[in-house]
């Protein structure tokens, strides 16, 4: 069976080209879509998804059916905690950030313990944890969203900071640099790719697999919480399902960016490009003012096409 193959371009580059193409397609569909303001706005929206999907990238790279389905709930929890604790006061922002990050990291740690030591499949463990976090949110808030967002958060996260570019975009790129360093220049990074390719060979060459898994899920919780904090700076308010809509797009961004769901192969650059592609698709569908039913169907069809272009698994005959 001859398979459809793309010319030798790296998946992150394909996704980036696709994003640019989609942007100009937006201009054809809706005149006035292509301009600097709109471009900055899209990158800003993509930054939130990109930051939230950073932990997902690490977890998926680590293989072993790794996936973190608690990300959406952690995003919401972090935003709600930050909203409660900073009470609209700039001085309380560091405290709010610290508590939100600690909560996220703790939930990630529990996920890691379940996956690494109790051998619960990641999908089930993180799914169960998502339920617990959702329950925790209800128990904490009792349905009332008390608190406020500090002015400083809006100023440095979502409002234009330098050259009309909002702070979150800079934060996103700094994070990308840090993750690149983490993956390519540290022992942890090498070990993560190692366990993603093959857990047995990694263990035999001296990698403490459970420890790497534990760190990875903890980082995922931490990064999701950071994403939730950032998101609060954008929305300025919180609600029950704030993070929910980011859960599966975080997985989709990773896949569209060319990271294999089986682990061991991929990069955060890919996820960033994937986040741009997904954000563009959603923005385009919104700009076209389709009814919700058609928006959902189109999104599903586009996702399916994207996955079939470069999310394919190894064929049986190979």
């Amino acid at each position: 069976m001859s398979r459809f193959s793309l010319p030798k371009l790296s998946p992150p580059l394909i996704a980036l080209l696709l994003a640019v193409g989609l942007f100009f397609l937006g201009g054809l569909i809706r005149p006035g879509f292509v301009n600097a303001t709109q471009a900055i706005n899209i990158v800003r929206l993509a930054a939130f998804l990109g930051i939230i999907a950073a932990g997902q990238t690490l977890v998926i790279l680590g293989g072993g059916e790794g996936i973190d389905l608690s990300i959406g709930a952690v995003v919401t929890l972090a935003a709600i905690l930050a909203f409660r604790l900073n009470e609209g006061q700039n001085e309380l922002v560091p405290l709010a950030l610290a508590v939100a990050l600690a909560a996220g990291a703790f939930i990630g740690l529990l996920n890691g313990l379940g996956v690494a030591f109790l051998k619960i499949p990641p999908l089930v463990m993180t799914l169960g944890m998502a339920g617990v976090v959702q329950g925790l949110i209800l128990a904490i808030t009792q349905g009332e969203m008390i608190g406020d967002t500090a002015p400083v958060m809006g100023r440095y996260i979502s409002a234009p900071l330098v050259l009309g570019i909002p702070g979150v975009v800079f934060i996103w790129f700094i994070l990308a640099l840090l993750i690149w360093l983490l993956l390519e220049r540290t022992t942890y990074g090498k070990q993560l790719f190692g366990i993603g390719v093959n857990r047995v060979t990694a263990r035999l060459s001296g990698v403490r697999v459970p420890l790497v898994v534990l760190v990875t899920y903890t980082l995922s919780g931490l990064l999701a919480a950071f994403g939730g904090f950032m998101l609060l700076g954008f929305t300025q308010t919180v609600f029950m399902n704030l993070g929910g809509p980011y859960l599966f797009p975080s997985v989709a961004a990773v896949v569209v960016g060319g990271t294999a769901l089986s682990g061991g192969k991929g990069s955060y650059w890919g996820t960033m490009a994937g986040a741009l592609v997904l954000t563009l698709i959603t923005s385009l569908l919104t700009a076209m003012q389709l009814p919700e039913a058609f928006r959902q169907m189109t999104l599903g069809a586009i996702l399916l096409i994207l996955i079939s272009v470069y999310g394919r698994q190894r064929g049986l005959r190979q």
Partner: protein, 324 residues
């Protein structure tokens, strides 16, 4: 002490025994909190409310045994619900009802077929594929039935709600039929193919098992089961909601795992998965009868489920420590 140790050993070899134990405990607690649980009317009502999830979970179990996963079952339930309540007229004759049910089954199988095509022929990862198709299905459901409503012939629905053939609740009949069908299926060539495909697809392919067709069929079965679940749901409520299935996807996966089927495939069964559904239902019953303050209900529910999911792993961890 020695005997207890042996019991633990047996429970590790037979994963669904843990589910059985869990169900007995849950049922006893439930019985204490709700003494009339075993009255036929109450039992029938309870089991009937578990019925749609039971049927969906049977389909999900087959997909998972083939080492896949179907995140679109809920959306397929929504889609078929929309088809059912818009095509059914209130005074439909038996023949017309049958025709609409056949149409519903066709829609479910076609939806499952799309998943199967993506996963089996295009070799796309099941998680993202079925997630993508779930948007297509729920979008279609919203298009066909923009807001909750629709029809279901009252006599048919009343029969469904009150039927207790031979004095046994309908829920038990359906569970028995599902388990029986599964045992028959497992004995066939298809059954062994399914385990082979789920366990070691490469080896299965090398030994001339029609891997692609078997994988495809599991998703079609899941689609068909979603259609039956949609029928049970609409009969239970006499109307349709285009978003009704949304909550069922994750519940079905949790139930399969509670029932001792591993997500890695090649192992497990439908009987355990149905136990999983009953456990989920009993836990929810217990929480509503135990007067847990409403803001804490979700937390308690999720914690119990998480502990139940972690249970077999915990037992194994303790056992390993003891041996070591």
């Amino acid at each position: 002490m020695n005997e207890r140790f042996q019991l633990k050993y047996v429970s590790l070899r037979q994963p669904y025994l843990f589910a059985l134990l869990l169900m007995v405990v849950a049922a006893l607690v439930n019985l204490v909190l709700q003494p009339n649980l075993l009255e036929l009317r109450v039992l029938n009502g309870n089991l009937r409310s578990f019925l749609p999830l039971m049927i969906v979970t049977a389909g999900q179990a087959i997909v998972i045994m083939g080492s896949g996963i179907d995140l679109s079952v809920g959306a397929m339930v929504s889609l078929v619900t929309a088809v059912l309540v818009t095509q059914m007229s209130l005074d439909a004759s038996a023949g017309q009802i049958l025709l609409v049910i056949l149409l519903a089954c066709g829609v479910g199988m076609a939806a499952g077929g799309l998943n199967g095509f993506g996963v089996a022929w295009l070799r796309l990862p099941p998680i993202v594929t079925t997630y993508a198709t779930s948007f297509i299905f729920s979008g279609l459901a919203l298009w066909i039935l923009p807001r909750p409503g629709g029809n279901m012939p009252e006599t048919f629905a009343r029969w469904y709600r009150q039927a207790t053939p031979l004095g046994i609740p309908l829920g038990i009949w359906v569970a028995a039929v599902l388990v029986l069908l599964w045992y028959l299926l497992r004995k066939t060539k298809y059954g062994s193919y399914l385990f082979a495909v789920g366990g070691k697809p490469d080896a299965a392919y090398a030994t001339a098992v029609p891997v692609t067709r078997v994988l495809f069929s599991t998703y079609v079965i899941a689609g068909l089961m979603s259609a039956f679940a949609a029928l049970a749901l609409t009969l239970g409520t006499s109307s349709g909601d285009p978003r009704i299935g949304a909550a069922m996807t994750l519940d079905s996966i949790v139930a399969v795992v509670l029932g001792g089927t591993r997500l890695s495939g090649g192992q497990g069964g439908v009987a355990g998965s149905i136990l999983g559904v009953i456990i989920l239902g009993l836990i929810r019953n217990i929480i509503s009868f135990a007067n847990v303050p409403s803001w804490y209900q979700t937390l308690v529910d999720a914690l119990i489920i998480l502990i139940a999911l972690a249970g077999p792993g915990l037992v194994q961890l303790i056992r390993r420590r003891r041996v070591a």
